[in-house]
């Protein structure tokens, strides 16, 4: 590094802005070059006198007051919306939350209500079945066949129960009775599978929260409730609830015979 190189780097050297290797090179040159050492001293002295003796011209108090007033009072030149940002941001955030949460809450509430209604229907079906099997005289009409049982309901109900399955060796029809399902009368057909009584409740379907599968005309999945299996379905204006302590597969077998569908 020669004198010109050092001269070009002297300010950076004094300000500590040189890489370590270059800094060391300048340092080594200054150690052996008296002229450059004097130049270094002069530059340092110039910085010293500029920093300490150059007259400074601070702003007057009057100017400072004017500026403070100007900045405090002047309307902001920011974009129009930024002035409302403290209000708009929380409002927009709240709107976004509502947009996201409202449908979720609505669906959740709807699902919850539907689940509650469905659970209520299942519980009601089990209760009706229990009332029947614990009754001393569960059957009001002993079965001599479907052609005896169905006409028996005439005059006892405000609807005609539509049931086509007469019973067979696997699921014999034992008889019938009038029961209640929630707020309405129900025709109760009692079938059996071995020693297991099976209640088929038939009632008006309107005004009840039916599961989607049931309203589409198919049977619902078997649902367990207090050790009983329950199936619900709807056909036209009538609703059906099949209840028993029978296992699910055999209960589905009877449901298939009642609905004319293949067991699922």
């Amino acid at each position: 590094m020669n004198c010109d190189d050092v001269r070009a780097r002297l300010l950076d050297y004094q300000r500590g802005r040189l890489p370590a290797a270059a800094h060391a090179d300048v340092r080594a040159h200054l150690d052996r070059c008296a002229d450059c050492r004097r130049g270094d001293a002069v530059e340092q002295e110039l910085t010293w006198v500029l920093e300490r003796r150059l007259p400074q011209h601070p702003a007057s108090l009057a100017l400072k007051r004017r500026l403070a007033t100007q900045w405090a009072a002047a309307p902001s030149a920011r974009p129009w919306w930024s002035r409302w940002r403290p209000v708009l941001v929380p409002a927009a955030a709240a709107a976004m939350v509502m947009l996201v949460a409202a449908p979720v809450l609505y669906v959740e509430r709807t699902l919850f209500r539907a689940r509650s209604e469905r659970a209520g229907m299942i519980a009601e079906a089990v209760n009706d079945h229990l009332r029947l099997v614990t009754s001393l005289h569960p059957l009001e009409i002993e079965s001599g066949g479907l052609h005896q049982v169905k006409p028996w309901f005439e005059g006892r109900l405000d609807f005609a129960p539509v049931v086509a399955f007469e019973g067979d060796a696997d699921y014999p029809l034992k008889g019938g009775a009038v029961g209640f399902f929630r707020d309405r009368k129900a025709a109760v057909f009692v079938y059996a599978r071995r020693q297991h009584p099976i209640s088929l409740l038939v009632f008006r379907a309107d005004g009840l929260a039916w599961p989607a599968g049931a309203t589409a005309g198919g049977e619902t999945m078997v649902t367990a409730e207090r050790g009983f299996n329950v199936m619900l379905w709807r056909r036209g204006e009538l609703g059906y609830a099949l209840v028993s302590d029978l296992n699910a597969e055999e209960l589905q077998g009877l449901a298939a015979k009642l609905t004319g569908r293949s067991p699922s």
């Binding site: 004198c3 500029l50 400074q56 011209h57 500026l67 100007q70 405090a72």
Partner: protein, 172 residues
């Protein structure tokens, strides 16, 4: 008042000092500073938080000076004595004042002589010396002046060499 406004007002002395050395008189310096803050107020949404607010304000002040005050300044000699030619070669061509007499004279120089010597430099030379004294980095000075960092380095070296030459002339 916003945080930016509070911080900006903290630099009013430094801005006024540069304005005073650019315009050469108190009245124009105050007008320049006031105009600078008015422009900064209108453009504060363009300031990038986290960057150097002081350098941003210096840039506005210099641009305001170039666009307004230099055209209509009252004293045509202020800033007109361009003793540092920006097209000249680098500092290596300047006389290398090495004698101990110069060092001794520098130690005795007074404020008025420093100010007078500084006012003989071109506006760019004055600006680069003053911004360097304010502690701005070469990158920040380059941003204020709108030039390359290398240009800042060479301008500063030439300006200081010219200043030393002037001070040598003023010395008894």
């Amino acid at each position: 008042m916003s945080t930016v406004a509070n911080e900006a007002l903290a630099y009013v002395d430094a801005l006024h000092n540069l304005a005073r050395y650019l315009t050469g008189n108190e009245t124009d310096a105050e007008d320049l500073v006031q105009e600078t803050y008015a422009r900064a107020l209108g453009a504060q949404h363009r300031f990038t938080p986290g960057t150097n607010l002081k350098a941003w304000l210096f840039r506005i002040l210099r641009n305001t000076f170039l666009s307004s005050y230099r055209r209509q300044r009252h004293n045509p000699t202020v800033g007109g004595l361009d003793t540092v030619d920006p097209n000249a070669q680098g500092a290596a061509t300047e006389p290398w004042l090495l004698d101990d007499v110069e060092l001794d004279r520098l130690r005795k120089v007074v404020g008025e002589e420093l100010q007078a010597a500084l006012m003989t430099l071109s506006e760019d030379a004055r600006t680069v010396v003053l911004l360097d004294l304010e502690g701005l980095t070469e990158v920040e000075v380059a941003d204020v002046l709108g030039c390359a960092v290398g240009t800042v380095k060479s301008r500063l070296a030439r300006a200081r060499a010219a200043l030393r030459q002037k001070l040598k002339d003023y010395a008894p």
